[in-house]
Amino acid sequence: MKRNLLCGATALAALFSMSAGAQTCASPDTSWHPDAAGTPALSGTTCGHEAGIISVCQGAGGAPAAAYVAQVTIADAPGGSFTNIDFTGGAGYAISAYLVPTSSGCNADAACTTVGDATTNMLHGDIPAGSYFLIITGADFDAPGACGPFTAAADGTLPVTLQSFTVG
């Protein structure tokens, strides 16, 4: 019975990935590891998380100071099998996503490796292997504070950092 409950919880988590708590630059969501089918998608809201990002990509665009921040590790293909990440935003804002190397800092207005939005996928081919902040926020033309729900869906796996285990 307990095992069944655990399996059920795991399945639910796989269907809908959203970490509890604020997903900010200081505490990004590190839980997104879709499998070869792209499951789970990363879903959440840009409301109530990171409020410090008002400019992105060395000033190339403004942002409404409402962002959801995840941290992802991406390998060169075929190590990471996804080819693109599709973004869907809800009402209240125009979803805009920015990928910034972790080493550059999250809220440092650093150069972006790539971008995505409601009609433009992030392409694996634009992303060298490495660790990145995935900043999901609103568009340059959105009003300050504009935010809303989002889903980021990869069409394949993002690699999971390998862990070492000792069997005693």
């Binding site: 000033g59 190339a60 972006c112 433009t120 392409l123 568009a139």
Partner: protein, 252 residues
């Protein structure tokens, strides 16, 4: 591409264009070596990006500069004019026509004008970029990104009115100085005339003295976002009537 000289100009910093005579033929290319007025050009990658002098111009002129980028985030197609001196007081104006660009998505952006700096500082070798960015519902707007002495050293501001269909006139006045002496004023599609109107927008307190002054002007497409690279390969943006000065409003 025609450069219109203003007789009221106190000091002409640079006049970059092509023969404006109605009878003159367009030069073979934009650089002085090709019969144009610009110091140099950059076209990368040369196999898919293009930079050409085309007819007609954008202001009842004979020639325009047509720029398009291939599908690469490192693509560029622009001309550069090296000024003879470092310019701490710099006015510029150009015409831009984005008619051939399809609708912008939220993260589409591309640089159309740059003012390289005499001195690199805080990781940047430029004083100013002017970019095309997205407005609502696929519209296009213009964004000014001035280097500044605090924070992340980039101070951006988007003019919150969509560009009009056809030809847009963009003008700026960049002052290089310490603290509040550093400032950018800009005009987007200001009313016709040569009397300086209220600015469309201002970025104040730039504290940009560390960059010295403007050393050159670059006009054309460069630094596309990944979205622009994906959504607008080979689409042409046209430019015309570049003018730069030290003191006097340019207008029309």
């Amino acid at each position: 591409m025609n450069a219109k000289m203003k007789v009221l100009s106190i000091a002409l910093v640079g006049l970059c264009g092509f023969a404006g005579s109605a009878m003159a033929a367009c030069p073979a290319g934009p650089t002085t070596a090709e019969g144009g007025a610009w110091t140099s050009k950059s076209v990368l990658p040369p196999s898919t990006s293009t930079l050409a002098v085309t007819t007609p111009g954008l202001d009842a002129t004979e020639c325009a500069l047509s720029s398009s980028l291939g599908p690469s985030t490192t693509a560029s197609a622009f001309v550069r004019y090296n000024h003879a001196a470092s310019e701490p007081n710099y006015r510029f104006q150009f015409l831009v026509d984005t008619t051939a660009l399809s609708s912008f998505s939220a993260t589409d952006n591309v640089v159309v004008f740059q003012a390289p700096a005499t001195t690199a500082a805080n990781g940047f070798n430029r004083l100013l970029r002017v970019s095309l960015v997205a407005g609502p519902a696929g519209a296009k707007r213009v964004r000014f990104i001035a280097q500044c002495g605090t924070g992340t050293f980039s101070c951006g501001q988007t003019f919150a009115t969509d560009l009009i269909a056809g030809v847009n006139r963009i003008e700026g006045k960049l002052t290089v100085g310490a603290g509040a002496a550093g400032q950018l004023d800009y005009w987007v599609n200001a009313a016709a005339g040569t009397t300086e109107p209220a600015a469309s927008g201002t970025i104040a307190n730039l504290d940009n003295a560390a960059w010295g002054g403007v050393s050159a002007a670059s006009l054309g497409l460069t630094a596309p976002s990944a979205a622009y690279k994906t959504n607008h390969p080979t689409q042409v943006v046209k430019f015309d009537r570049f003018d730069s000065r030290r003191q006097t409003y340019i207008g029309s």
